[in-house]
C-alpha cells in the first residue's frame, strides 16, 4: 500500500492529464485533430516559459512578480523598434538589455539592501506599468506582417510549430540546469539556507543575483514571444499573465512529489491549464466555467499528490 501511495503522489498529475485527455477527446469535437493539439501546445508555451523564469528565481529562495510590468514594457520597446524599421537584433538586444537592467536593480535591492523580494517586485511592477504608459502613450503597438516575420516563430518544422520546439528545448535545458548542474544545486542551497551557503564557502549574493538575471532573461523571451503571437504589444499582456504564471509556478511544486519549485512542474501545470481552456472553448462552454474547472482540477491534483503522506507537501515561499 505504501509503495502505491508513493507512485500515486508522484504521478498523480499524469493520471489527471491522461484522464482529462480521454474525456475531452470524447466530449469535444475536433479535440484530437493535429491542428488543435498543436494549438493547445502553443497556448501553453508562453505561460510555461514565463513560469520557468519565475521558478528559477523561486528556487533561489526569492520571488519576482515584476514580470507583469516588464513583459508589456519589453514588448512595447521591441515592437516599437521593429515598427520603426530597426533590424531584429537591435530590437532583441534592447529588450534583453531592459530585462537585465530591471533584474539587476531588483537583485541588488534584495541582496544588498535586504528588501523583501515580494514587496519590492510588486512595487517594481507598478513602476514599470507607469513607464509603459509614458513610452507608449497608453496605445497598443501593432506590427504588420512585413515588420514581423511571424512565420519564423509560428511556422512549422514537421508537424510542430517552431515555438513549441523552442519551448521544449528551453524545458530540457532549464531542467538539466536546475536539477543536474552544480549551478542548479547551489541555487537550491541558497534558497534553502543562505547562511549555510556562506559557511560552505559560496557567495549567496552572487547566486541570488544570477537567479534574478537568469529569470529576467527568460521573462524577456516570454515578452518577445507574446509580442510575436499578438502581432504587437498589448497593455494587457502583463496583467493577464500575472495570476496564471503564479499559479503554474506554485501549483507545479506539488507535482511529481517534489514539494519545491521545479521546472517540470511548471511544464505540466501549463499543459493542464491550456488543455482545459482549449477543450472548454471547443465544447462551447460558458466562459466562467474555465476558471471554475481550473480550480477544481488543480485542487484535485494537489489533493491526490498528498494522499497518504504524513506531511503535506509544503509549498516553499
Amino acid at each position: 500500500m505504501k509503495k502505491n501511495n508513493g507512485l500515486l503522489q508522484k504521478y498523480a498529475v499524469f493520471a489527471i492529464l491522461i484522464l482529462l485527455f480521454v474525456i475531452f477527446s470524447i466530449c469535444a469535437k475536433s479535440f484530437l485533430m493535429l491542428d488543435n493539439l498543436m494549438n493547445l501546445l502553443v497556448q501553453s508555451t508562453i505561460l510555461g516559459i514565463v513560469g520557468f523564469g519565475l521558478v528559477f528565481i523561486m528556487i533561489a529562495g526569492e520571488i519576482d512578480l515584476s514580470y507583469a510590468g516588464s513583459i508589456p514594457l519589453e514588448g512595447a520597446v521591441f515592437a516599437s523598434l521593429l515598427a520603426n524599421g530597426k533590424p531584429y537584433f537591435v530590437a532583441l538586444l534592447a529588450a534583453v538589455g531592459i530585462g537585465l537592467t530591471i533584474s539587476f536593480i531588483v537583485s541588488q535591492l534584495v541582496t544588498r539592501f535586504k528588501l523583501v523580494s515580494y514587496i519590492t517586485t510588486i512595487a517594481m511592477m507598478f513602476l514599470l506599468q507607469g513607464i509603459w504608459y509614458v513610452l507608449t502613450g497608453g496605445k497598443n503597438v501593432f506590427l504588420s506582417e512585413e515588420m514581423l516575420n511571424r512565420e519564423f516563430i509560428f511556422g512549422n518544422i514537421g508537424p510542430f510549430p517552431r515555438i513549441v520546439l523552442l519551448y521544449v528545448l528551453l524545458f530540457v535545458l532549464l531542467y538539466l540546469l536546475s536539477e543536474h548542474t552544480p549551478f542548479g544545486l547551489r541555487l537550491r542551497a541558497v534558497g534553502s539556507d543562505p547562511e549555510s551557503t556562506r559557511a560552505a564557502g559560496l557567495n549567496p549574493i552572487l547566486y541570488k543575483t544570477l537567479a534574478f538575471l537568469f529569470g529576467g532573461v527568460i521573462f524577456t523571451i516570454g515578452a518577445i514571444l507574446t509580442t510575436a503571437r499578438m502581432s504587437g504589444a498589448l497593455a494587457t499582456s502583463g496583467s493577464s499573465l500575472l495570476m496564471p504564471v503564479m499559479t503554474v509556478a506554485f501549483v507545479g511544486q506539488t507535482f511529481l512529489g517534489m514539494g519545491r519549485p521545479n521546472i517540470p512542474g511548471v511544464f505540466l501545470a501549463s499543459l493542464l491549464l491550456a488543455m482545459i481552456d482549449n477543450a472548454f472553448v471547443l465544447m462551447q462552454l460558458p466562459i466562467w466555467s474555465v476558471p471554475m474547472a481550473n480550480g477544481v482540477i488543480l485542487i484535485s491534483a494537489i489533493f491526490l499528490a498528498n494522499i497518504g503522506k504524513n506531511e503535506i507537501i509544503q509549498i516553499k515561499f
Binding site: T181, R188, A189, D193, A199, G201
Partner: protein, 503 residues
Amino acid sequence: MADTVVLEMHNIDKQFPGVHALKNVHFDVRKGEIHALVGQNGAGKSTLLKILAGIYHPDEGAISINGNNYDRWTPHQIMGMGVSFIYQELNLFQDLSVAQNLFIGREPTRVPGVIYRNEMRARAEKALARLDATDIPVDTLVKDLSAAKQQIVAIAKAFDQNPSLIVLDEPTSRLGLEDSEKLFAILNKMRDQGLSIIYVSHRLGEIYRISDRITVLRDGCLIKTDDAKSITPRQLVQYMVGEDVLTKKYKQKDKCGDVLLKTESLVGDGFQNVNFDLHAGEVLGLVGAVGAGKTEMVRVLFGIDLFESGMISVQGNKITRNKPQKAIANGMALCPEDRKYQGLVLENSIRENITISSLNKVKTSFWLVDRKSEKETVNAMVSRLRIATPSIDKKARELSGGNQQKVVLAKWLCTDSCIFIFDEPTVGVDIQGKSEIYDLMHELANNGAGVLFVTSDIEEGLQVSDRLLVMYKGSIIKELDPHCSSLEEASLFAMGGNLNEKE
C-alpha cells in the same frame, strides 16, 4: 607529536558597539593535538572562531597558518588552507540530500558541467563509512534525519575535505553515548595521524577525556593555556568563572508532600511499563541515554502524544485522553528539549513570550491586553529569574541559551503550575547559567512544586536530584539515591548493565 605550530592567532583584538569582545588574545594550535577552547557564553570563544573562519575581521592582530602570515582572509581562503568548521548550528541544507550536502561547492561533474550523481553517491558513502555511519542512506533529505545523524553528516562533511585543522563546536550536544564514543575514537585516531583539532564544549568531562591542551577565555581575555593534565577541574572552573565555585550539594529534603503526578504501567511509543510518582517539594531526576525513551514519555505526560495503555494521574485526577490544555489546567508545565522551536516564539519579544500562556491574567475587561499590568508582571519575572536583557521588548532569538531557558520557565511561573517538567534544560548553557537553573529548580521544589528533571547528563542528574530514576530502552529500570550512588554505578545502569539477561 612534534611541537610544530599549525595555527597561530596573535594579538587578536575585536570590538563591537558596546562590547570589547576580544582583548589582545593569543591562541595557537600544534600539529597532532586536540586543543580545547573553553569559556562561558560571552567569553569570546565564538568571536575568536568566527574571526578564524573569516566571517569577522579583527581590529588588530593576524594569523599564521603553517608558517604563512595573513592579515586578511576570507572564508573561502581559510577553507582552501585546510581548515574545516563544524558549527553548533551545523549549517546543513535541510532541503537537500546527504550526498548533496556533503559535496555542495565541490560537486563532481562529468563533461558538459553536469553533476555526476553516481560518483557523488559513491563518495558520500565512503565519507560516511569513515565515521562508521553506514546506516545513513545518502539520498535522504537532511531534514528527515534525526539530530544525531545530522551531526554525523556535518562531521563527515568536514572530514571529507581532508583538513589539517578542524574546529568542532559542541559536537556531542546531539549525540548519545555510543555516537560520542565513536566520535572520540575517530578524533583520537585523526590526532595521531597529525590532524589538529580545536574542541569547544561546556562539558568538562569530555574536555578532560580527550584534550591535550586547554585554553580558557574569560571576558575577552586569554586566562590560561596549558596541558590538560596540569589544570585540575576545580582550577578550570575557577579560571572560567573567575571565582571559586564549589560544586554545590543540594540539601537532602525532609519527607516530601503529596503525590502530584503518578503513572502506572504506562505504555507508549518508545517506552513501556513506566511507574513512578512525583511528590510535592522534590526534584525527581530521570536519566538515560539518548533514545532511552525519556522525551517520548515526557510528551505523553504533557499530552502532546497519546499513550497506549496504563494510567496517569495528576493531583489525584485520573487522565484518560490527555492533551496539553488538560495538562496545563491540571497544573503541569513543560520546558521542552527543543527550547528554541517548541518552548519559545523566537520572533516574539521576551514580554510576549512570558505572558503567552497567561494572557487572561493581564487583560482588561474589554478583552484588551493591559500593557501596564503586563509590563509589571514581566519585569517582576525578569528580575526574579535574573534574565539578562536590556529590554523586555528584545526578541527571544537574540538571547543566549541560558536566558532563553529562563524565559520559558518564566512563562510557566505566570501560570498556576505546580508540576514542572524540565527536559534537557542545560544543553548549550554555560556553567553559571547551569548553576542558576539548578537553583531555580530547587527553589520551585522548596515552594511546594514537584519538579521532574530529565537529562542525559548523568553527572548533573546525580548532582541536582533528590531521587534519581534511570531509564533504559523504554523502561525505568532502577531508582537510585543520588547521595549514595556513584557516577560509575549510575552510568552502568543507564547503559543497561546489571540486568540479569543480556539483550
